[in-house]
Symmetry: C2
């Protein structure tokens, strides 16, 4: 209960900050589409940034910048993912996707500009007084988002569609480490980067968490209620795609996700009780219904 309140508060903070950052951009359709596409969502990535920053004594006024950055990058990836030439999804978070609400051209451009905005947020002076921190946040964000991170995961996902055999567990783990894991890892370590502290424990936490997150997504695709999830479910099975559920079975996938969350929590032992919010975030990831 306390955790969910905290998550909601973090979501409201990052929402307000994104609106603030986009305020000078005017009101052309592409900017309206940027605002639309970056609104809502659970804001788990922003929460990870804010909590890892708090854990390291980083001021909230600085941490809000990488929190906004990662949500802008995440939003860009969803807008482009949903395009007809990609996953061709009409609904997202219970609302029409950006290209349905506007058009494909506006959606491509809005996604492009959201990506750019993400990099602007971590390189602006307000983000952190130390330029070396801003540059480190930027270069790590670029690696997490680019062709060695999120785009690699996307590319492997596309390649899988025409592969002669379904992916193995190892292949699907690599795919997801890029597609969702890289941005989650960046978020969870951002606080340590801002404090110029050791990132290893948070990286171990995030690696387990990212995988648990994706297993939970695969479970939701099987068991979830489309109305709650806010998008179509059952698409993976329909497409005959290998998922953690098809490879491990429903119960096996749930057990694996629970083990990963336990490992993620253990990785935070050096922080003691201060990291309880991050532990609750890990448990939330596999208990959510959307």
């Amino acid at each position: 209960m306390v955790f969910e309140t905290r998550l909601r508060e973090a979501a409201q903070q990052v929402e307000a900050h994104l609106q603030h950052v986009m305020a000078p951009l005017g009101d052309l359709p592409v900017v309206q589409a940027m605002r639309y596409a970056s609104a809502g969502g659970k804001r788990l990535r922003a929460f990870l940034v804010l909590e890892s920053a708090r854990l390291h004594g980083v001021a909230a006024e600085h941490a809000i910048w990488p929190a906004a950055a990662i949500e802008a990058i995440h939003a860009y990836s969803l807008v482009h993912d949903d395009l007809p030439c990609m996953d061709d999804d009409d609904m997202r978070r219970g609302l029409p996707t950006t290209h349905v609400k506007w058009d494909e051209c506006t959606a491509v451009l809005a996604g492009d500009a959201l990506q750019t905005l993400g990099f602007e947020c971590v390189s602006r002076q307000e983000c952190h007084p130390e330029a070396v921190v801003r540059a480190e946040l930027t270069v790590t964000l670029a690696r997490a988002a680019g062709a060695q991170g999120m785009v690699l995961g996307q590319a492997l996902d596309i390649a899988a569609e025409t592969a002669p055999a379904p992916l193995t567990l190892e292949e699907i783990t690599r795919l997801q480490a890029g597609k969702t894991g890289a941005l989650i890892a960046w978020s969870a370590t951002a606080g340590a980067v801002m404090a110029q502290a050791e990132t290893a424990p948070l990286m171990r936490y995030a690696t387990d968490l990212g995988l648990a997150f994706q297993i939970a997504d695969d479970i939701l695709d099987v068991e979830g209620d489309a109305a709650k999830v806010g998008k179509a479910v059952g698409k993976d099975a329909e497409a005959g795609k290998a998922t953690f559920v098809s490879l491990l079975g429903l119960e096996g996938a749930k057990a694996r996700a629970r083990d990963l969350v336990a490992d993620a929590c253990d990785a935070l032992s050096s922080y003691g009780k201060d990291a309880d919010a991050l532990r609750e975030a890990a448990r939330f990831v596999i208990s959510r219904d959307s």
Copy 2:
């Protein structure tokens, strides 16, 4: 002649550097598409970076990073511009466009990852020993590329297609200041940013140069040979779009471009003969046939 040799050498250097930067990315179709889309071209933007850096005594080993960055960003913008939902172009630089050579999905992703790569290039430690310079290059690049710069120009261009009246000279100047001017200005000032020197003279030069560049593009769309230009010509007139040629007439547009180039050259007076390569670049921009 000397200038064209220098331009060609700069192009080869940046080409080699982009290949070097992309070497660790493997060989998935999306990475092949990134290499394809970022190959070739005149590399005017990279030349401006390298020359403005040389003018300020910045080491070439550092300057090559923002030069590669701007070409990656430029390449991303072309890949997305050419998409069926945008300008729907089949040819670019005399070759099939990326979505024709691969498919739309790969082109969207390759463009996305090229944008990310651009930000990686300016934030990597090798780019500059001073983190404050890397952060400044990043934030200015984000502003030039995003919804207040290049994407703004694109959005205005789209809005113009359905506008009740053709654009005025003032409106088209604003559109082009975003669409092509912002990246050109970033390129020409990058050397001063790297040297932590005054950017004002190069900014004045670049503002005139960027506008002259776009006027020259409009003239090429009327007078150019598709085989040399490497893409379809005559598209603007066909679409009934307002251009500098439709607004100023062919001779008027040529005269305006010449005046802008003269002003651009004058803006460099404080650098004396050291800036001759940049002056030649300005003259080249309005004399090119492609």
